[in-house]
């Protein structure tokens, strides 16, 4: 399991403890007109997750850029990109805090016998959303974890890719690389002649032994705004306007995705 996943479990554990404290005298008992939103708004504030201003949706295709929508975009980018994208630590922490406060709120409501029938629907909806968000976050983390394990050896030798990982992801990568190396050495390599016992040979005409992200892999890219022209492998330039969809090698649009001007679909 990833460290993020572990942190997530820890947080929910912490949060169950916190609930008992929360029901002590520090928190006044819930009043009859208890308002889920107010409580959530208050709970949201210390988390420091400031939601961007909401704008009206004119067109159904224009989706608001809430933290959740942003997270969905990063999730999809991560799934489609052959490379590891920068970790979204702040965004993820904000969402986890939000999840925690929502879980606490429904727990309080559920434990209260005065909760009415119509509130049960609200609780059920909030609970459903929590499960949806949890699924998304798990999938995002698992995708990163898969790539980290796959490129572990490459990560340990490449400073650039390390800047895109969190501290715990970096640690996981180096541990994974070390353990795999040890295993290969003990099971096979130590009995081979010295000249064949390396894991990082770069023979001519053969791919490198260290698995690297294949940035030439084609991806489907969707321009979120008018993008500056990009240079294509055949030497021509491509100007993508808002809404344009293209299939092109990842390295062509890498910088657009990083700047949030385009998304992978």
């Amino acid at each position: 399991m990833s460290n993020w996943g572990r942190e997530y479990e820890n947080r929910s554990g912490f949060f169950n403890d916190a609930l008992d404290v929360g029901q002590g005298p520090a928190n006044p008992p819930r009043q009859a007109g208890f308002n889920l939103d107010e409580d959530i708004d208050v709970a949201m504030q210390p988390a420091g997750a400031v939601a961007p201003p909401r704008r009206l949706v004119e067109n159904t295709e224009e989706v608001e850029q809430t933290p959740l929508q942003t997270m969905i975009r990063h999730w999809m980018n991560e799934r489609h990109s052959p490379d590891i994208l920068p970790a979204q630590e702040a965004l993820l922490a904000g969402l986890l805090d939000h999840l925690r406060s929502q879980t606490r709120n429904i727990q309080i409501l559920r434990d209260d016998p005065r909760t009415s029938e119509s509130e049960h629907i609200r609780i059920m909806l909030v609970q459903t959303e929590i499960e949806r968000v949890k699924f998304l976050i798990r999938s995002y983390i698992r995708t990163r974890l898969y790539k980290i394990e796959r490129y572990a050896r490459f990560i340990t030798t490449n400073a650039d890719i390390q800047t895109r990982l969190t501290a715990s992801e970096r640690e996981h990568a180096s541990r994974h690389a070390k353990i795999t190396d040890q295993h290969l050495f003990l099971s096979v390599l130590q009995s081979l002649p010295e000249s064949q016992a390396h894991l990082d040979d770069t023979p001519v005409f053969y791919p490198s032994m260290v698995t690297q992200p294949d940035k030439t892999r084609p991806v489907f890219v969707h321009a979120l705004q008018d993008c500056p022209p990009v240079a294509l492998p055949d030497g021509t330039r491509l100007q993508m306007n808002k809404g344009h969809i293209s299939l092109t090698p990842y390295h062509v649009v890498e910088h657009l995705v990083a700047r949030g001007e385009a998304e992978l679909v």
Binding site: D41, P67, F135, I245, L247, T248, P249
Partner: protein, 185 residues
Amino acid sequence: MALPPALRGSVTPQELEMIASQQVIEIIPLIAMEKTAFISGAYGPLRPPNKSKIPLWMAVNLKQKKKCHIVPPRWLNVEFLQGRLDLENSDSRAFCELPFRFAEIAKVIIDIASDDLENPDQIRSLLKDLREARQAKCRAGLGQIDHSELSLSNLGSMEINEIRPVFVQSMNILSKLARSNTLEA
């Protein structure tokens, strides 16, 4: 492993449906509900019989409990789709403009709220015709693929997902051929 092999190359239709279900849709509620803060934003209050806007997944949930009617989006009706189908057939290359996630949203609504639609059977057959017309263009597009770029504007997310494995691999092979060409030259 961290990510099952089936999920490595592409996303699943179910995942796309989940993303599409985040979109806001209009409903006519049959129950009252106070304004409630969700992670994706605050929705409500629901006051029957006033229309209200909530995410599709929430509408599906309420609909299955018979607690709301779904107001179909303005593009999900016979007239609009017939117009698009005519447009689609009149141009042999470009795809006509449709909402990016139309396939997912249409499927969800037809599956669970066909009684809120007018002529659901006709809508279904129009969507099928649209799909076939667009699929034929996709296949024709495979002939134009080269190693650097292929424009597919107006293609929906579900359609992209469908053609992804073949198209990505075709382009990959063409890139390799192009690279070995330049090496030899």
